[in-house]
């Protein structure tokens, strides 16, 4: 009998610690599937983050390196420069990438470092318990924005669109934003990830896939409601699709603008 859907080789067969309805599990799987399809499990290195996905090294069946919060792109720079034929995958959340590590992501991207960043945007701090993130939407409640994010009055500023910000930099070659709120978006996101990995393996420059991901626990919603909130509230602000594609190859139809 032909197996058409199984456990990815690059994922260890254990249950994750993630909350019900969390997007990390799906995203982990998409990365693992892409690595399996490219046949590069033995030369893949995960840059393990600080945040809810701090245990990602428990789940991936390949090497990992963990540097301080926010410094993932700097650590990955060191790894990739030493091992240029390896697939280096940075896994970062919104606090990690867009707050404490803003300098690192901007400059790694601008240098055109040849690794791929998977940027999980759930508009909240997960691990520390629901504080405001740089990507928290205006009006969205957080423990540190109890009345909702107030950009002007309380001086909390505006949500950061990371793909659009990085798109101005010469070193960035592929920037896409996907979502795991629905099956069609999951499939598109997988295509973005695979395309970014392929570009990395060709040595084309900095690649990043931002992924809108539900956090039911810290949004205080049920899993279904949280997925709906991604579509209804996040997607209108964080537009899906390929924000920048300078890979020089025609975009496949299923990976086009959402």
């Amino acid at each position: 009998m032909e197996v058409i859907y199984g456990h990815p080789k690059s994922l260890v067969s254990v249950q994750t610690k993630y909350c019900p309805g969390c997007g990390h599990g799906v995203i982990h799987r998409l990365i693992a599937e892409a690595i399996d399809e490219l046949g590069v499990q033995d030369r893949s290195i995960l840059m393990n983050p600080v945040g809810c996905s701090i245990w990602a090294d428990l789940y991936y069946d390949f090497d990992s390196v963990q540097v301080p919060h926010g410094r993932t792109p700097a650590g990955a720079t060191g790894v990739k420069r030493m091992l240029p034929d390896h697939l280096v995958v940075c896994y970062q959340g919104d606090g990690d990438l867009a707050a404490i590590g803003t300098a690192e992501i901007v400059h790694a991207a601008n240098r055109g470092e040849k690794f791929t960043t998977i940027f999980v945007n759930n508009a909240i701090y997960g691990m520390t318990g629901g504080q405001m993130a740089p990507t928290t939407l205006v009006g969205q409640k957080a423990t540190t924005a109890p009345r909702g994010r107030d950009p002007e009055g309380a001086g909390m500023g505006y949500p950061v669109r990371v793909c659009e910000m990085l798109a101005t930099l010469g070193g960035t070659k592929y920037l896409a934003r996907g979502s795991v709120d629905s099956a069609p978006n999951v499939r598109k996101t997988k295509q973005y990830i695979k395309k970014a990995f392929e570009a990395q393996l060709r040595g084309q420059g900095f690649t990043m896939v931002e992924i809108l991901s539900p956090c039911p626990t810290n949004w205080q919603m049920g899993p279904v409601e949280a997925a709906d909130w991604v579509a209804s509230t996040m997607v209108p602000f964080y537009k899906l699709g390929e924000i920048k594609n300078e890979l020089g190859a025609p975009a496949p139809e299923q990976g086009g603008k959402a």
């Binding site: 033995d42 030369r43 290195i45 840059m47 393990n48 701090i54 090294d57 991936y60 069946d61 390949f62 090497d63 990992s64 390196v65 963990q66 540097v67 301080p68 410094r71 700097a74 650590g75 990955a76 720079t77 060191g78 790894v79 990739k80 420069r81 030493m82 091992l83 034929d85 390896h86 300098a103 690192e104 901007v106 400059h107 240098r111």
Partner: protein, 371 residues
């Protein structure tokens, strides 16, 4: 390359020694007074096809070092005092993940932005771990351009052997001055060091069998397991103290009063010692070369033998605390003379202070200095 002698700035000699030691990757950020080192590495590393990155910050540079070392490379960074403070985040992580690497601090005066003149005010930070958590790392203090080169070269070997960051703690004087230096032989950098714990598989090391994944991290959320790893590291520290403590001793047989000083301050003491000798006064000198591990046992032995000590530092007194701990209980007297803020004491003033001590006229260093 055979042995050759060159006239070089300390900063350049450190860079050349690192290249000759087989440094695979250098990451740095400009800061005075170590800028020649970063520039030297840019030319030297890129010309050889090795990795050089001018990082966006000292913080990032240190995490680049972490990544490059975790991926099997001999990695290095350098900076000066305020920049070293920024690197402490990554140094703590590197110590927690047992990452070999070389750090160079061409120290300047502080606190804060302070000044750009030479200082020894970073002794505490260097020898007490410097960042958060329970750890130490080796610290070597050169007194000359020659020793700056030699200790940098040695630092790569010590880092590899003991699986830890090794810091060369120089100061702006050693970084900026020019002296003759015999450079160590250039090694073939192409074979990477054998690190079974590192990630990835470098060229030429690929086997057929797939090994279990390596995870390079300082994270451990299980207190007993974390305690066990910290304890194992401290057992290693004891072996390092036994095997890697180094110091220079001068004229100890004849002297009653022994200077204890490192780096630039030790050269000033040596000058004072020679001036005293010419005038018929015998003084001694113990110069710690390894600041961590500190030569406590030798100092304790000298204290038991009836010596008294004068610690001389370009700080308000940091190493002197290690000296006091080393000789505690011996009844031996420890005095201190220091200048701060980037002021370099003269041989004459150090000798004058030593004479006052021997004549019983100086009550305390602070009293002398600040009245």
């Amino acid at each position: 390359m055979s042995e050759e002698k060159r006239l070089m700035k300390g900063n350049e000699a450190i860079g050349e020694a690192a290249i000759r030691a087989g440094c695979d990757a250098y990451f740095g950020y400009p800061i005075t007074p170590q800028n020649e080192l970063t520039a030297y590495m840019a030319g030297g590393m890129l010309d050889r096809g090795r990795v050089f990155i001018q990082a966006e910050s000292e913080t990032a540079a240190m995490s680049m070092v972490f990544g490059a070392s975790a991926a099997g490379g001999r990695a290095m960074t350098s900076s000066s005092s305020p920049g070293i403070s920024l690197k402490q985040e990554g140094i703590s992580y590197a110590c927690g993940a047992d990452i070999p690497c070389v750090l160079v601090n061409v120290a300047r005066s502080g606190p804060g932005l302070g000044g750009i003149s030479p200082s020894q005010g970073d002794y505490f930070q260097a020898t007490r771990g410097g960042g958060h958590g329970d750890y130490y790392h080796i610290v070597l203090a050169p007194k000359s351009v020659q020793e700056a080169a030699d200790l940098t070269y040695k630092a790569f070997d010590l880092a590899e052997e003991w699986r830890m960051p090794v810091m060369v703690l120089a100061d702006g004087l050693i970084g900026q001055m020019m002296e003759g230096v015999v450079l160590p032989p250039a090694r073939d950098a192409s074979p990477r060091p054998r690190r079974p714990w590192a990630v990835g598989i470098p060229y030429g090391q690929r086997g057929s069998a797939r090994r279990t994944p390596n995870h390079v991290t300082s994270l451990c959320l299980d207190p007993p397991a974390l305690e066990a790893s910290v304890r194992a590291r401290f057992e290693r520290y004891e072996r390092i103290a036994e095997q890697e403590t180094s110091f220079e001793a001068v004229n100890l047989d004849k002297a009653e009063l022994v200077f204890v000083a490192y780096g630039t301050a030790s050269r000033i003491c040596l000058g004072a010692l020679q001036m005293a000798q010419a005038e018929g006064l015998e003084l001694g000198l113990v110069r710690p070369v390894s600041l961590w591990p500190f030569p406590s046992a030798e100092l304790a032995r000298l204290a038991k033998g009836g010596k008294r000590f004068l610690a001389v530092e370009m700080s308000m007194g940091q190493m002197v605390q290690d000296l006091r701990l080393a000789v505690a209980g011996s009844g031996s007297r420890v005095d201190f003379y220091g200048r701060a803020g980037g002021v370099i004491p003269s041989e004459e003033e150090v000798l004058a202070y030593a004479r006052k001590l021997l004549e019983g006229k100086a009550a305390s260093a602070s009293e002398e200095l600040w009245k």
